[in-house]
Amino acid sequence: MVFFGAACVETFIQQLINGLTLGAVYAMVALGYTMVYGIIQLINFAHGEVVMIGAMVSFSVIGALVAAHTGLPAWAIVFAAAAAAIPVCMAVSYLTERIAYRPLRGAPRLAPLITAIGISIILQQIGLMIWSRNPLAFPQILDNRVFHVAGATVTSVQLAIWIVSILMMTGLAAMVYRTRLGIAMRATSQNPQVAGLMGIDIDRIIAATFIIGAALAAIAGVMVGTYYGIAHYTMGSLLGLKAFCAAVLGGIGNIPGAMLGGIVLGVVEALGAGYIGDLTNNWFGSNYQDVFAFIVLILVLVFRPSGLLGERVADRV
């Protein structure tokens, strides 16, 4: 049996490492969902598409720099890709907020949600028009150095993903809990009317929230692209949904919750996909990986709608 012995421990650690990497990406994307939801109670369906655009822009930049034989080191190329993807994603996200969501402020809740679905379709088609309908393979520039830890392997890309996401999340936490902008954001999410009375420009804060979420999404896009080595115009929708599941798991509207939820969901998915075959006597295989996020979502919503860390009561009918 695979459950016992040294081989078992190694497999477990390997799945854990893969799960943590996946989880770091989910967490980065989940933060965008949770911040927007926290502030205007909107599930920003188009957020996954912002990740896709981030990955696509970075693909173009990496491709162009590699083709130009600049002699730049690989890390610099990836850095440049991220530096290009971030402003593009910020602009896309700001524009959608400005054009599509802002006119609907105060409208019934379902209205902006339906708009968000429409925006998501439109962004996908724009991605298709610019970057073709075929999957795009990233050039292999990062030499994937492999480290051995307790019999399992960690690649340098995985390490980079962990380090960058920890840095970004620490930075975000510092911004939300230490700066004036962060205070204004939290005030707006608690009570927009009163925050407005206190002299906070709510529209500006909401736009800032979208922009910050988009920056994280752009970096997540670069991460996914370089990690899996592939980008596709539909990649955002499933990734976005899972990240949303992660945000709900952690407690929607709760920033540390989104980080925790992302990591937990990534690990659950990796371990689930790794062990479902053994557990079900190979009735189900790892091709059911995508089901776990939704099952987690349904279980959380049914049994603990406020999520792992959330204090808000989710079902205010």
Binding site: G118, I121, M129, D315
Partner: protein, 343 residues
């Protein structure tokens, strides 16, 4: 009334003169009207946003495909399988609704979306270890609907007129559509319909008025699902081939766009919305492609992209300028334009 009846009866022959493709397109459009009317019960009447509606369509289609095809060599007649398809879809609707309907609207949307994906993933993978759905290859050679000795799949000649398969399905679909329309109109003005409307407008108040909101919402889900199941079964028989690819998330969103465009809760509006969003993309396919060829010498924007952009834009633009739809129902207009504060 008689005029409309005559027009509907003659239409397939006029279309067949242009090309059988157009009869098929019309048939698919009618199927989409059926689907939109089903989703309208859930989204329009009861105000529950269901983003996985296509799953019920899939369930109906697969029930028919499994019980009337060489897959298991079972060949049940349609009058047994179509109601069964509706029933199984209904059961799925209840199974999904029971634990989730107490959730707030936007959460429900996501859960239903997840449910739709789960159904699709299972259909895609249930070819191992026991081959049930034949995986991504789908099920082919599905039996056409037979009424007595009359097979709707083949061509017959009657009184000098050629009745091709699609034309016969057209008449079947028109009959089903009429029945569904009657049920919908009757439903809307019934006690149940009014209860749904009350829930949609103000759930707390509805409960205070003694409406069993949970049961009513579940009923909306179940009824919407059954209509989806019926449409799916007919789709399966008509196409003769189905695969999980026909039941992706985008299809759910397409149906939703039709409901939104026509006006949520407005039966005739929704039917018109479905017709519009079924035909306009097809017309564009035949005009925009060649036009681009002529103008630029190549296809710059593929027709498929235009189609999807239309759906996306329909959702965004409608919500911004006419949230109650192109043809709004009076109550819905009042409700959707009432400006409330976010909290």
């Amino acid at each position: 009334m008689a005029l409309i009846a005559v027009a509907l009866a003659v239409l397939p022959f006029a279309l067949a003169a242009v090309g059988t493709t157009w009869v098929r397109i019309t048939n698919l459009a009618i199927l989409f009207i059926l689907l939109s009317l089903g989703l309208n019960i859930v989204v329009g009447f009861a105000g529950l946003l269901d983003l996985g509606y296509i799953a019920f369509y899939a369930v109906g289609a697969y029930v028919y495909a499994l019980l009337a095809s060489p897959q298991f060599d079972i060949h049940w007649p349609f009058w047994a399988v179509v109601p069964l398809g509706a029933l199984v879809a209904c059961i799925f609707g209840v199974l999904l609704g029971a634990p989730t309907l107490k959730l707030r609207g936007d959460y429900l949307a996501i859960v239903t979306l997840g449910f739709g994906e789960i159904v699709r993933i299972f259909l895609n993978n249930l070819s191992q270890p026991v081959n049930i759905t034949n995986g991504p290859q789908g099920i082919s050679r599905i039996d056409p609907i037979r009424i007595g000795n009359l097979s709707l799949g083949s061509t017959d000649t009657l009184a000098g007129l050629t009745f091709s398969g699609p034309i016969k399905y057209y008449y079947l679909l028109i009959v089903v559509l009429l029945l569904v329309l009657i049920v919908n109109v009757r439903l809307q003005h019934s006690r149940i319909g009014r209860a749904w409307e009350a829930i949609r407008e103000d759930e707390t108040a509805a409960r205070a008025m003694g409406i069993d909101t949970m049961r009513m919402k579940l009923l909306a889900f179940a009824m919407g699902a059954s209509f989806g199941g019926i449409a799916g079964s007919i789709f399966s028989a008509m196409q003769g081939f189905i695969s999980p690819e026909s039941f992706v998330l985008v299809e759910s969103i397409m149906v939703l766009s039709m409901v939104v465009l026509g006006g949520m809760g407005n039966i005739w509006g929704v039917a018109a919305g479905a017709l519009l969003l079924s035909f306009v993309p097809e017309l564009l396919r035949y005009t925009v492609g060649p036009m681009q060829q002529a103008l630029f010498g190549r296809s710059i924007i593929e027709p498929e992209v235009i189609r999807m952009l239309l759906f996306g834009l329909a959702l965004v633009v409608m919500m911004m300028y006419r949230p109650a739809g192109l043809f709004p129902s009076a109550v819905r207009r009042r409700e959707l334009t009432r400006r409330t504060q976010a909290q």
